[in-house]
């Protein structure tokens, strides 16, 4: 036995502790609820000097999976964490990694797959990984999250296994539930248990040049897959041994299956992860009434424990398999399908199996739900007959008498008139007339009040100013983010116009499809010629990181639409993690100012490099789209003019990209009432200069130098809690470097302003 100590931690914290104790080399990650807590905790532990893992903030989950794959081929230990569509975005990388036999650990904090978007837990994501060739552990509680991360590492790295492994815990139910847990008191005992990792092949060994991932067609590929299949068989032998060895060290013994009161059970329930615990209470209640009931779950679903499954259900009369997802069209969830196939292979088995779907999208699972399912199983056992082979529990019909109400009158025609005119002057530059804040109060709002944003949120003044500049009907597409989450909480919507949501990765492409269909249907006469629509994609909260590829693709195709970015300098809707637009060396939940890294972020200071805040307008300028502009709410007239120009361009010339700097008082740690003046300091300090580029000609639309208001960057940084540390004397050099970069970009902008060829 090795000494253990008690901690009171949740699943995400336990995953982070396991990684800390194993001291992985590298983590590539991209934040997504509810797994975000893992990189956040690891950032905090790193700031406290508890581990040396290099934490790499990727551009998206696909990029994170790539970083992890690459790092793992280079021979060290790698960890990642993700959930839901993040997992699906990374999915194509998973078979690449298992097929080339590169171990690592991926914590999947299970959550519903969109859409519609739901951030809560179920098993619809993890079931997509069944065919990827990864080992899949299921951790029903925070204790198992820690233990299985360690056990999975040792099993995965076994020379005859050499497969990557997933440890799955339930989003929120486990990831955010604090429990009493035990951990190794001494981290060296963990490292001793997992041992040295020395893969036979690495991508960074000059003495042994090897080719990872050749071009392999038939007849060879099938042999590669036989090897993978055999590795799974080997893992099936290895995992129980590793669990046994771990038990001897810790006193925590695990089996492949998790069972409760199955000795003589006749009617039972199979379900995965956190629901197991709740269901055991139901078993005790029914046992007291003399019912022979029991529960089964599995701690490992790849490799599939077919022998244990056959054995445990040998004498069971009726079994309800409750899945927290459906394989749509199969009239069952995946566990039900697999268990029935497994029992069919046992010619003596006579268990009656039926399927239920429960708890989708984070719907709670109460003891009463488990009693209901067990009582159904008892009835099937008593009657020796299945009534309903498949059903959902917990769904409801709705109020049949409910009549949808109308909160908006007809908004087509000239309802959204703003009185502005846009014309070209003799130099072919766009001139907007009629912009006055007082008169613009006449423009009806396309977004209703009542939305759920934080007090003082900058997104809504930005949307208000931007849409004031637009005439007529607008179709919006919002990327995932604060602006989306707070406006469309079902069954409500704040939009008085058409609204579409798509995930971060793909909004620009999606809207470009809408635009082209609109024009094609108009051309075919299916939509009347006079119907006029402006298409606007709205992104923020890091949407121009993960969605950058499709945004550039959309720009290069030059569709007639607008991309509007509210840049709040971080991934705010998941609680503020570092984005590429976070000010250099600013604090966030994944770039922590800690004792080991005074005044620096955990990534930027150690083990990684980083550039200064992302210059998205210049990236977009490289695509040569007709219109690019920056706007700030501190300059409302300039703002509305640029919105009107963007609409003109979207109608007549192609793509317009407009970027706003958007206040986030909550995460910037800045008083809500001061936000307009904080934004003003960003403009006056030239951190966020106001300019436009129309058909290649750059114009500075507000020049702080000419207005004699230019201020140093420290004036802006002093207004936000997350950048204040940069003003301390010991960080002088860093502040100077940032100032130099801001000055360099400003001087370059002035040069562009003066020279039409730049």
């Amino acid at each position: 036995m090795r000494e253990q100590q008690i901690v009171f931690k949740n699943g995400n914290e336990m995953a982070a502790l396991a990684a800390t104790h194993m001291d992985f080399h590298v983590m590539g990650y991209f934040p997504i609820t509810p797994s975000t807590g893992i990189p956040e905790e690891l950032s905090a532990y790193k700031a406290d000097g508890l581990h040396e893992i290099v934490l790499i903030p990727a551009d998206g989950e696909h990029g994170a999976a790539g970083i992890c794959y690459g790092a793992a081929t280079a021979g060290g230990r790698v960890v990642n964490a993700t959930s839901a569509n993040g997992l699906l975005y990374a999915l194509e990388q998973l078979p690449v990694q298992s097929g080339t036999r590169v171990p690592m650990i991926l914590n999947v904090v299970a959550r519903t797959v969109s859409g519609p978007l739901d951030i809560k837990g179920d098993h619809s994501d993890i079931m997509f990984t069944l065919n990827t060739g990864w080992l899949i552990f299921m951790a029903k509680d925070p204790q198992r999250v820690y233990d299985f991360n360690i056990i999975a590492t040792k099993a995965a790295e076994n020379a005859e296994v050499m497969l990557p492994a997933i440890v799955t815990s339930d989003g929120f139910f486990t990831s955010h539930q604090k429990r009493r847990n035990y951990i190794f008191e001494n981290k060296s005992h963990v490292k001793e248990f997992i041992g040295e990792y020395n893969p036979k092949y690495t991508t960074i060994d000059p003495e042994n040049p090897v080719t990872f991932g050749p071009y392999m067609n038939e007849p060879d590929l099938i042999n590669n897959k036989v090897q993978l299949s055999h590795a799974m068989d080997k893992a099936y032998e290895v995992i129980p041994k590793v669990m046994e060895e771990y038990g001897r060290l810790t006193g925590r013994y695990y089996n492949v299956l998790e069972t409760y009161r199955m000795e003589d059970a006749e009617a039972c329930l199979f379900l995965l992860n956190s629901s197991f615990d709740t269901a055991t209470e139901a078993v005790d209640i029914l046992r007291q009434k003399g019912k022979k009931v029991g529960i089964v779950s599995s701690n490992v679903i790849r490799p599939w424990p077919y022998k244990e499954i056959q054995k445990v259900f040998k004498n069971v009369k009726a079994l309800c398999v409750a899945d927290r997802q459906e394989s749509y069209g199969a009239q069952a969830g995946n566990m039900s399908i697999e268990i029935r196939a497994t029992l069919k292979d046992d010619p003596e088995n006579k268990t009656l199996v039926f399927s239920r779907i429960y708890g989708l999208g984070g719907k709670e699972f109460y003891v009463d739900d488990a009693i209901l399912l067990l009582e159904e199983a008892i009835a099937v056992a008593d009657n020796n007959k299945i009534g309903k082979a498949f059903d959902y529990i917990g769904a409801y019909e709705g109020n049949k008498h409910y009549e949808p109400k109308k909160y908006v009158n007809n908004v087509i025609s000239d309802y959204f008139e703003n009185g502005l005119t846009v014309e070209k002057d003799d130099k072919q530059q766009l001139i907007v007339k009629g912009v006055q804040t007082r008169e613009l109060t006449t423009v009806p709002k396309r977004i209703a009040p009542g939305h759920q944003a934080c007090p003082g949120c900058g997104i809504f003044p930005n949307l208000n100013l931007f849409t004031k500049g637009l005439k007529g009907y607008v179709v919006f597409l919002f990327h995932t983010g604060c602006g989306m989450v707070v406006t469309t909480g079902y069954p409500y919507t704040a939009f008085r116009s058409t609204y579409i949501h798509n995930l971060f990765q793909n909004g620009a492409a999606t809207l470009s499809g809408v635009v082209e269909m609109f024009h094609e249907r108009k051309r075919r006469g299916e939509i009347p010629k006079e119907v006029d629509i402006t298409f606007v994609m709205v992104s923020g909260d890091g949407g121009m990181d993960i969605g950058m590829g499709p945004a550039i693709g959309t720009a290069l195709r030059n569709h007639n639409m607008i991309i509007f970015e509210y840049d709040n300098g971080g991934y705010m809707n998941t609680g503020y993690q570092l984005s590429y637009t976070t000010p250099h060396l600013a604090e966030s939940k994944t770039s922590i100012v800690g004792p080991e890294f005074p005044g620096k972020s955990t990534f930027q200071k150690h083990g990684g490099r980083s550039t200064f805040h992302k210059d998205t307008p210049m990236i977009m300028a490289g695509t040569n789209i007709p219109y690019i502009a920056t706007v700030a709410e501190s300059h409302p007239v300039d703002y509305v003019k640029k919105a009107a120009k963007a609409q003109y361009v979207a109608k007549n010339e192609g793509l317009a990209y407009v970027k706003a700097i958007s206040a986030c008082p909550l995460n910037w740690k800045s008083p809500p009432e001061e936000q307009r003046s904080v934004i003003n300091t960003a403009v006056e300090s030239c951190y966020f200069p106001l300019f436009e580029i129309y058909n290649g000609i750059t114009t500075i639309t507000y020049d702080p130098e000419r207005a004699k208001k230019k201020m140093p960057i420290s004036k802006y940084f002093s207004r936000m809690g997350v950048t204040k540390h940069l003003l301390e004397e010991e960080n002088r050099e860093d502040l100077d470097r940032i100032q130099n970069e801001v000055d360099r970009r400003w001087e370059r902008l002035k040069a562009r302003n003066e020279n039409p060829l730049l």
Binding site: T437, Y490, Y492
Partner: protein, 330 residues
């Protein structure tokens, strides 16, 4: 190793606490601290979790704490439906949610209010039970501390078996590291919350019925909802009421001083202002005039006060004004 026995337990062996709040008031952290104190400080087994939406201020949050004897395993992962102690961090929550559901005559309700226990019981429409009131907003203002430290004090008072020192230690562990300079203030707030309470008990006298816990259900279900999750009621968000996001301050509009420049309308994140056309007597032209704001949507951010060039909007204490009368409906 367990320091004291639990005074009461439900049929699963738990003493249970539910905290009802809105994001930003610290109920989540309060739950963590109480649970940490019980498990790490007093040797109980237990669990703590919360239910909330995305990461923002002002939306409803519930936090749960369960304690059981040290040798018992925690085997329930669903929310607390019938709490022994209910903590209410903001009294306006009562109008928004069925927060007293499952709170029976043997429970204790701790509420942040300036009402006395009798009036608080009437306000909450409790069937019976013990009511502990604490004016956390006032104490927070006087002691210059965050409200949740005060609430933790009052809730600790409601849990007679809790070791005060263990809770203080958990406060040190949780808040001490990050906010070292605020730690003293938080401990002071804890003590004030613990001491400055009013306590009374009420029999189940039939004045109000017991409301059992029920899972929420919407109007739309699988038989009538438009397919694909499509929302057909455009603009329906206007039904929401965001008043509980305010924390004591409001912007007050002084029409006589207003120059109708429209800047407040451009800065207001919650689209509260009403502008209507009227005749400008000097120019004989139609102009837009500021009529005031609709407090149903105002979250009290005070951005409008900050941008107003003529002090036609000022920062005031909400308690000193009749919001209903001031409101100009949108």
């Amino acid at each position: 190793m367990q320091k004291a026995t639990l005074p009461v337990k439900n049929k699963f062996g738990f003493f249970e606490v539910r905290l009802e709040s809105i994001g930003g008031l610290g109920a989540n952290v309060a739950g963590k601290i109480l649970a940490e104190a019980g498990v790490m400080g007093m040797g109980y087994n237990g669990s703590n979790f919360a239910s909330y939406g995305s990461e923002k201020k002002g939306t409803p949050v519930s936090s749960y704490v369960r304690f059981c004897d040290s040798d018992k395993a925690v085997r329930i992962n669903s929310p607390v439906t019938d709490p022994h102690v209910l903590g209410v961090f903001h009294e306006n929550l009562v109008s928004r949610l069925p927060i007293t559901a499952g709170v029976g005559p043997n429970a204790t309700v701790v509420i942040n209010t300036d009402k006395d226990p009798h009036n608080a019981r009437e306000y909450l429409r409790l069937s019976g039970g013990r009511v502990i009131t604490v004016d956390a907003i006032k104490i927070a203002y006087e002691e210059k501390v965050r409200m949740n430290a005060i609430m933790i004090g009052a809730i600790t008072r409601a849990m007679d078996f809790m070791d005060k020192e263990a809770v203080k230690e958990a406060i040190r562990q949780t808040l001490g590291k990050k906010y070292e300079n605020q730690l003293k203030a938080n401990l002071r707030g804890f003590e004030a919350g613990y001491e400055q309470v009013s306590i009374d008990s009420f029999d189940e006298d039939g004045r109000f019925p017991f409301i059992p816990f029920k899972e929420a259900k919407g109007e739309w279900g699988y038989a009538n909802a438009p397919i694909g999750g499509i929302v057909v009621e455009a603009g329906s968000m206007i039904l929401k009421n965001n008043q509980s996001s305010r924390q004591g301050k409001i912007p007050l509009f002084h029409p006589g001083k207003c120059i109708h420049c429209g800047l407040c309308e451009t800065t207001c994140p919650d689209y509260c202002f009403s502008f209507e056309p009227g005749m400008d007597e000097k120019t004989n032209k139609t102009q837009m005039y500021n009529k005031g704001l609709d407090y149903q949507y105002c979250k009290g951010c005070l951005r409008c006060v900050d941008v107003c060039p003529v002090e036609a909007l000022t920062e005031e204490l909400e308690a000193e004004h009749d919001i209903e009368k001031l409101t100009v409906k949108l």
